[in-house]
Symmetry: D3
Amino acid sequence: MRPSGRSLSQLRDIRFEPGFSKYAEGSCMVRFGGTHVLCTATIEEKAPPFLKGTGSGWITAEYGMLPRATHTRTDREAARGKQTGRTQEIQRLIGRSLRAVMDLKILGERQIRIDCDVIQADGGTRTTAITGSYVALYQALSSLVEKDILKQLPMTDQVAAVSCGIYEGHPVLDLDYAEDSTAEADANFVLTGRGGIVEIQATAEKSPFSEPDFHALLELAREGVDVLVGLQRKALGI
Amino acid sequence: MRPSGRSLSQLRDIRFEPGFSKYAEGSCMVRFGGTHVLCTATIEEKAPPFLKGTGSGWITAEYGMLPRATHTRTDREAARGKQTGRTQEIQRLIGRSLRAVMDLKILGERQIRIDCDVIQADGGTRTTAITGSYVALYQALSSLVEKDILKQLPMTDQVAAVSCGIYEGHPVLDLDYAEDSTAEADANFVLTGRGGIVEIQATAEKSPFSEPDFHALLELAREGVDVLVGLQRKALGI
Amino acid sequence: MRPSGRSLSQLRDIRFEPGFSKYAEGSCMVRFGGTHVLCTATIEEKAPPFLKGTGSGWITAEYGMLPRATHTRTDREAARGKQTGRTQEIQRLIGRSLRAVMDLKILGERQIRIDCDVIQADGGTRTTAITGSYVALYQALSSLVEKDILKQLPMTDQVAAVSCGIYEGHPVLDLDYAEDSTAEADANFVLTGRGGIVEIQATAEKSPFSEPDFHALLELAREGVDVLVGLQRKALGI
Amino acid sequence: MRPSGRSLSQLRDIRFEPGFSKYAEGSCMVRFGGTHVLCTATIEEKAPPFLKGTGSGWITAEYGMLPRATHTRTDREAARGKQTGRTQEIQRLIGRSLRAVMDLKILGERQIRIDCDVIQADGGTRTTAITGSYVALYQALSSLVEKDILKQLPMTDQVAAVSCGIYEGHPVLDLDYAEDSTAEADANFVLTGRGGIVEIQATAEKSPFSEPDFHALLELAREGVDVLVGLQRKALGI
Amino acid sequence: MRPSGRSLSQLRDIRFEPGFSKYAEGSCMVRFGGTHVLCTATIEEKAPPFLKGTGSGWITAEYGMLPRATHTRTDREAARGKQTGRTQEIQRLIGRSLRAVMDLKILGERQIRIDCDVIQADGGTRTTAITGSYVALYQALSSLVEKDILKQLPMTDQVAAVSCGIYEGHPVLDLDYAEDSTAEADANFVLTGRGGIVEIQATAEKSPFSEPDFHALLELAREGVDVLVGLQRKALGI
Amino acid sequence: MRPSGRSLSQLRDIRFEPGFSKYAEGSCMVRFGGTHVLCTATIEEKAPPFLKGTGSGWITAEYGMLPRATHTRTDREAARGKQTGRTQEIQRLIGRSLRAVMDLKILGERQIRIDCDVIQADGGTRTTAITGSYVALYQALSSLVEKDILKQLPMTDQVAAVSCGIYEGHPVLDLDYAEDSTAEADANFVLTGRGGIVEIQATAEKSPFSEPDFHALLELAREGVDVLVGLQRKALGI
């Protein structure tokens, strides 16, 4: 029934390529099927001004999409001179999601900048970005532990994200573009390895949906994230 | 236990003042306790370019906050030369929420612009804005029916919104600023009069929260929205 | 003869509502008939950089208009990404007008930010804003005296403003929108309680006007401001 | 008493160099002492959108200052990415002043763009710009008459401008920078050849000033403008 | 002597991966050693306004760099709200270089947009981008011929580019970052397959250089481009 | 054969007017025929942040064009809110060219800002600007020596620039607008008094050009610059 032939609760082919970047302290090329996102983590030995003197650090994220990552070309945000509301919404979400599994006191007064750049888009770029960013962030933080700058990894849990939606009346896991563009409802779930909820964003695309539908989506997401956190660990060798 | 002395499932004092504006086709000053938002609806007899020739119309929204609506002054976005990511996120949410209860084909090729301006902020400005905008939009659409420009009201349901959160370990309804700033989790629910879900945005503020907690918040929201849609009807005399 | 039925030298219904804002150190909702402006005064314990080390303070002002304050909707400046020339002109005028009755040495190295937001516009928004800002500023400065931060009120006089114009050949006081949009000449006068001139801006709208016409406008303004400063004192209870 | 040794009612050395630009339809390098402004007039055979179909034309103006036109370097507005409030105020004033002596119906649906660029600034740049722009505009309009595009010159009067101020207690004409920077009051007068008032902008710089002082300034301005319009005619050979 | 151990006239390892993008009409991931640039070509069936009615088409280019393509992170241009002068210089160069080998009349009134995004930067990004863009452009144009939209390929020659420089006193071909950052002179050559010069940009980095030095650089470039155009043909199978 | 009647290797009428500006530390109005550029040099006793603590100074340049410097009016960059790519390219070139003949260590931690404003444009504005800026810079630096702030002039050579091109098949020196707009190739050469190359920018305008053509252009440029540096010395009296 799904355009891709997947079963209702089947993820796309998921691949993590940690250490993709030659220069970044942490990086991961993550692919959810045809959606490819390059995530890098850059360590800055200075916290943002609002944290000065608090002993705490920060994780921030930026998100971008190459102009021809999509079916038809999208205007380059740098050329337009501003980021769209969608871009800003996504990069705020990525930052919040990662901070939810951080102990920012242990990180200390430094900042990790996450950059998520969509090389190719086939639905679910924000959830792909969050899932890959965890890997890039883990790498960067590990490097601080290896260099004895930090005594322990300042992470409290794993985090991953996946989209679900109501497609032709059925709850399905991990929407691709063909499904996403016609889904009746679309939800993004950011969940932790131990089962906590970090963020839920559920949106009716055509008409309001019911609570039972919503519960079905949440259940699918839980299953999907369980697979994703396993793959993250495998990619990181932990 | 709540700073305001309210019970866990008690809304603030809610007031709708429809027809507040001398000029707008629809308007409502809405107050959720100390949060005051002026919502206006402006009818434009021209749909946005991407709908040209489709026979469908559009609802769009903008959101702003007076610089001293808050405890400490916030920079004026017009002076800074751009809207923050938060503002863009909120105005996109308001537009989506209202469109979810519209039949845009019946509206025809015209656009309604909703403006939500926060005169005073004490938590929950986005949910207050959605709830009041429904009233302003209803007024504007009614005026089109009264003038025989439309044969029927192009709305399929009522819509209202409320925030809930985990405050000192307890699920509470309709957070004010004192609660919002220290809540463990914060969720905004946009629901319809007939029980449908339009949008859910739930965010862990400090650490991930559990599914049972989430369900408690959804239940509170359902109760709150039932009250709000009743008050909307009363304000509109329908 | 006037659309509103007022006599040539009659002000509109003038109302001051000091302390309108829950948060601001000083505030006043001021209404000149259908023109409603919310003025707030925010105290900052830091002077602008160009005054550093001089012992003097500063008063600055910003001005905005809600998009649907007007008959037809005006684009939101924050969304357009810049303030219009008109807005900048007005906010510079408000700042200069208030500074003209200040002793900035007595104020010391701090800054008062005035925000004037037009909730509804029916002509004369800039003069209304100046007249109401005086009240908000007075409140804010009084609070500094009450807290013993200042030994005395750093004001040297009262200031108020009013517009006059040539309407259908007659000099009239306090133009509303119906008059303003067809007036032959339009002038804004900012005058002090003791009779000084702070600012005069007189503009021929259609064709140049004569010196005697100008003198008639100035005389009307003097009468109007005398009433306004009385109402300011009454509102402030001084 | 004046730093320049001029008498109280003496203009600076005034020079008009019409036809300064090789390309513009009208142009004038105008010098008021050390203040040098290049004014050009460009004819566009298309009125601005808001006049489409009205049969009327428009005059608009832009103003700029070379970065090192001043004692210390001023940031280049093109590099800063926006025009200051002062610049916008001045260019709006220039446009209004010229339109006040135009019959825009006779001009027809075309637009004249005036550009005033300050090559060197020594006080009074806005009044110098208005006075020189009249000459550039006259040239451009004459060329339309010569080419039989217009049957008659669409001007109803001459216009010129001059600043006056209270300097060390005395009303003086045509302030230079040394006077302007310490004057107690500063006023710009835009007057017509036949004695009409186009615009008055009077500002108290330190403390409010009196009505008699203001009248003295207006009288000086009248004398100054009478000289300036004579020099304009001489420069244009009319 | 070179940090990479290459001989003075040796190119880096050059790789072309045509058809890299799933969506673009033409694309090529091009790698000059550690410099990796994704080039895509997007066909638009509309020429830019200035060519309307001329029967001619256009090639335009945009250039960007991922924030962590470099040793230390570079600010994202979309976040800063504008493109740097360097970016604009490079994208203008890419567009000119490709147009130099086009017959824009044969292309007809359509536009090809080239996007060059640097995934990893190790010197020579602009020359790498030009060389890869030729391949992407060729693919896109071939698709128009295959679909019988064009009768023939509207290209008159091949084009490729390479940098050369004076490094520790020696002319060297194809600078990598280690060389580029300390070179005495740096030159970019855009040359055609048949030996024509399209663009030369030579810059003294520390002190002026001599004509003989310049000629040595040009000779090296000629040799390098001969290799590059051969590799382009091989990648395209032509 | 040339529109101006000049011989192939003949410069236009070249004039330097040093000390043109009343305020700038160095200035020169330079004219290459109908191209007139006002160059000023402003001394700032503070180096840019990236040089702090290095003991070195900096030369930076900005470039602008009056809106009606050209045949048809060009939009004012300050009004458009950003500088074009062309402007940025030119101002970067001017800065690099001047720095190439500076000993920035001797200059010490200060910055000279060069402003080049085109009053009238008839081709070759960037080369004219470089040639005139040298004179303005020399004046400013001399003033530092005269005041004993510097012990010696921190310049290592003279620098001047000229454009050459292939016009109707012939290499010609110093293109004016009539030639520039139809030339087959266009090259800008920045050369030093002692024969060094500072910068070469050569561009094929229609189709690629040959190496012999390029060499002919370089030879012409050498001759032209020899004349220009002589005129610079004469203007400076050195």
